[in-house]
């Protein structure tokens, strides 16, 4: 069977010849009903019968990459799609660099690989759970469709990880696959594994910030796993990255359109001072300082997902050839990092200092630095919108020491500029940096759904281009 072609005849669409692998096929078919139950219980609430104009991956070949059509979400073709196997691929980094890439799990790294796959897999259903009530306050059918597209793709990414567990990890893998359906975001007893995935996504601005900041962590992790010497993991994540790009798009343009609407309304009302919050809010748009606070929150929560700056786990995963650096294949060095160093921003003796540490142990931070640069690109493009409307305000990323619960700065409080401040000072200033309950109430008051095709809620501008080149008033969701 050709890898480019997707088998839609079976219960589970795939390009991995499931029919030729009865054991894995049976395991996945057994898992499938539980997945559908999870989707129906925890997926988008109230829209399971609606027809949504979705993109479905029908082939991993770019030429037939995706097709658009109306689909009921529970009927979405979740499947197992791996990027084509490279000819004679070599392990690109670490102690085994240059050896043939593994097609089976290398015994000595089995536990490490399983853990990485489970953590990645756990984030996918978590975000669907976090976002399940947002459909009801969608600012337009266009945005509602984008939300659901993100949700079904997160669902597919769960399938991707579960396939690896079922195929390569035997009985443990099956148990882990089951557990992925049992944990629940925010649940006291059985929460999801990572902190940011147990936070609420209460409103659409949070959703856009989440897709911009937190899904971008997902992108960076996938990029690092796409370099893996374990070839099936590399191929799976490479294909997931193409879908992940859509999530980046939803986040960046969602916040960008929010900024644009605020600028338009401020200009119309002749308000120059972005800090005249009361006046701006009266216009039915989100004031820029509140947008900054939302960005501060989601950015800092997401930085925690990268783990400790200095980490022996990350060093072992790299050394083992399991998890590489961002775009490892584009980096020009020995890909072993045994003798080089990397500068790390640390907290020592009450001060923030930069210290060179062995590069192998600083890999979490290195990935985080690449993440920060990627975020900064998007923030700069948001600021271009502000410049276009001649509004004297610029959004910026807070200092990496700000509002942290993991890593070098977890024990201290810092302001957005990276000045260490006392606990008392933090308590007093907190509401200047992070959304207050008052801010959250205001945002919530704007969350009124708009379901007439082509119409948008007061606080957000329409997109520049429709999905699949559709015209502005296209009915992206036919609500049942």
């Amino acid at each position: 069977m050709n890898i480019m072609n997707v088998d839609y005849d079976g219960l589970i669409p795939n390009n991995v010849n499931l029919n030729g692998d009865p054991r894995v096929k049976a395991a996945l078919e057994k898992w499938h009903p539980g997945y559908l139950d999870w989707w129906n219980d925890m997926g988008p609430d109230g829209f399971q019968e609606s027809l949504v104009y979705l993109r479905t991956a029908v082939s991993v070949d770019p030429k037939g990459w995706a097709k658009f059509d109306y689909v009921k979400m529970p009927d979405y073709k979740w499947g197992i799609l791996l990027a084509p196997q490279g000819e004679d691929r070599k392990i690109p980094f670490g102690a085994h660099a240059g050896e043939k890439a593994w097609q089976e799990v290398p015994g000595e790294y089995r536990a490490m690989l399983r853990r990485l796959i489970v953590i990645q897999g756990d984030t996918e259903p978590a975000s669907v759970e976090q976002q399940r009530f947002l459909g009801k306050t969608a600012p337009s059918l266009y945005d509602m469709r984008n939300l659901f597209q993100v949700n079904v793709e997160e669902g597919r990414h769960l399938w991707a990880m579960v396939y690896l567990l079922q195929k390569y990890f035997g009985a443990d893998g099956r148990e882990e696959a089951e557990a992925l359906l049992q944990r629940r975001s925010g649940d006291e007893d059985t929460p999801r594994m990572l902190g940011a995935f147990n936070e609420e996504t209460p409103d659409w601005l949070s959703f856009f910030m989440f897709t911009f900041f937190t899904d971008r962590d997902g992108k960076m992790q996938l990029e690092a796993l796409a370099q893996s010497g374990f070839d099936p993991l590399s191929r799976t994540t490479r294909f997931m990255l193409t879908e992940e790009a859509h999530h980046m798009f939803v986040g960046e343009t969602g916040v960008g359109r929010t900024i644009e609407r605020t600028c338009q309304e401020m200009q119309k009302a002749g308000i120059d001072d972005p800090y005249n919050i009361e006046a701006v809010r009266k216009l039915g748009v989100i004031d820029l300082p509140t947008l900054q606070k939302k960005a501060n929150l989601h950015y800092s929560l997401t930085l925690d997902l990268f783990g400790n700056e200095i980490s022996t786990n990350a060093a072992s995963a790299f050394h083992a050839g399991i998890k590489g650096r961002y775009r490892e294949d584009k980096l020009d060095d020995d890909h072993k990092l045994e003798s080089s160093t990397y500068p790390v921003t640390r907290f020592k003796d009450g001060k923030i200092v930069v210290e060179d540490v062995p590069a192998l142990s600083a890999l979490n931070l290195r990935l985080r630095d690449d993440y920060v640069a990627d975020c900064q690109g998007g923030v700069s493009r948001w600021n271009k919108v502000l410049e276009k409307y001649n509004i004297k305000f610029q959004l910026k990323l807070p200092h990496v020491a700000f509002h942290r619960n993991i890593g070098e700065f977890k024990e201290v409080q810092a302001d957005v500029d990276g000045n260490i401040i006392s606990g008392d000072a933090w308590e007093k200033k907190k509401d200047e940096y992070l959304p207050s309950s008052n801010d959250r109430d205001f945002i919530e008051s704007l969350m009124k759904t708009e379901v007439e095709p082509g119409k948008f809620a007061s606080w957000i501008a329409p997109p520049k281009v429709g999905i699949d080149n559709k015209p502005g008033d296209f009915e992206y969701v036919k609500i049942a």
């Binding site: 770019p62 980046m248 281009v465």
Partner: protein
């Protein structure tokens, strides 16, 4: 004057710099700096691999320029600059590209002349993929069916051919065409010209989720004055294909003669003979995807006799609620000749009402000879109802609601 150059550009105001295009490009034509992702005009071969995976729609800009934009110029942009399009007299402009392949583009340009101006796709049409396979690297399809459609004793020999793409992805939309690349050379030792055929099946195949397309092909045999016959090379090649044969296919081609993806749209389809092919696809698509659509389908279909009308049998089974059919015959014994334009005039009141609706789309497909009669029928219907056909036609064409494909 130097020849105009095709250039692929990315809109920096819409792009989110996700790197998907750069990762996808098989020839390394996409590159980036800290500001923008751009396409190197010296490397891009218009394979279109980057277009479909782009999540933003920023990638879809093709222009024809006298001097291409350099990488440095593109890196400096925050928006696409205003681009002066080269007028049609210099050749078909690529920004409205039907097909990047020059040979296919020329064939389609000719087929669309009857619209009297540049055609646009319906606003709601799905986005077509074009030029995925060229004649140098065609897709290989296998013949899985070849059915003679015309009855015994009919003077025409029309075949329904099913081509299966097996494991190759060949995404099409109803109304698009594919190119059949003939094996061997012509009498002058040059490769045969590519022939375009409209697909007769809907986008998801003869049956839902099959990876095949069907064609409606008439065997061309002309009698010469000296009593000999000239047989059309391509049509005879296709009509003689046997089950299991493989065929080289280029395409898909065509980005305007597409059906509206809108349940409100009324669709008037006028055809003769094998011109019915795209409308078979339209009808089946509507039946599969929006069976209870508010908009109606109208078919004016002409042939000499029922035996020569492709799909005459199956058409009898299509319910009136889905398709309002007018089958018109010009060679029935004991009956006066009747052509599609005559039947259109008999439905004058209905058509006049449709012409005044903003949701009506008109399609004409068949031999070039039908254009004059159909045009005259619309003009006459308009005169009768105090409407201006020239104005209506221009407006509909500009709005992507008037389409002609004749050959």
């Amino acid at each position: 004057m130097s020849a105009p150059i095709k250039q692929h550009l990315i809109d920096p105001a819409v792009c989110i710099r996700c790197n998907t295009c750069e990762a996808t490009c098989p020839v390394g034509a996409v590159t980036h700096d800290a500001n923008n992702y751009v396409v190197d005009v010296t490397k891009c071969n218009f394979c279109m691999d980057c277009v479909s995976p782009c999540p933003t729609g920023s990638i879809n800009h093709f222009v024809k320029v006298k001097t291409p934009f350099s990488l440095e110029e593109q890196f400096s942009w925050s928006d696409l600059p205003e681009i002066k399009e080269i007028p049609d007299t210099d050749g078909p402009a690529i920004s409205a590209a039907e097909a990047i392949d020059d040979e296919a583009a020329a064939l389609l340009d000719d087929a669309h002349k009857g619209a009297g101006g540049r055609m646009k796709a319906p606003a709601s049409a799905s986005k077509p993929r074009i030029n995925l396979f060229g004649r140098r690297e065609p897709a290989i399809a296998k013949v899985t069916g070849n059915l003679k459609l015309t009855g015994e004793g009919a003077s025409a020999d029309i075949h329904h051919i099913i081509l299966d793409f097996g494991t190759t992805s060949f995404p099409v939309l109803e109304g698009q065409s594919i190119g059949i690349v003939l094996p061997g050379n012509d009498e002058n030792g040059r490769p045969h010209k590519m022939r375009l055929f409209s697909i007769a099946s809907p986008r998801d195949g003869e049956r839902p989720n099959t990876n095949n397309v069907s064609l409606t092909v008439k065997r061309v045999v002309t009698k010469n004055a000296d009593g000999t016959e000239t047989r059309g090379v391509a049509s005879n090649y296709v009509c003689d294909l046997k089950q299991g044969d493989t065929v080289q296919v280029a395409g898909p081609f065509g980005s305007t003669f597409l059906m509206p993806d809108d349940p409100e749209a009324d669709v008037v389809m006028i055809c003769t003979g094998t011109g019915s092919a795209p409308f078979r696809g339209f009808t089946e698509r509507r039946r599969r995807s929006m069976p209870s659509a508010k908009g109606k389908l109208y078919l004016f279909f002409g042939a000499r006799t029922p035996e020569e009308l492709p799909y005459f049998g199956p058409l009898q089974k299509v319910p009136k609620t889905l398709l309002d059919q007018e089958l018109v015959f010009s060679r029935l014994p004991y009956k006066p000749k009747e052509y599609v334009q005559d039947r259109m005039k008999r439905r004058s009141a209905d058509l006049a009402a449709l012409l005044q609706k903003g949701t009506t789309h008109i399609y004409m497909c068949g031999l070039k000879g039908m254009e004059t009669g159909v045009e005259e029928a619309f003009a006459s219907i308009c005169r009768e109802h105090k409407l201006d056909w020239a104005l209506i036609r221009a407006k509909m064409r500009d709005e992507g609601r008037f389409h002609v494909e004749t050959y």
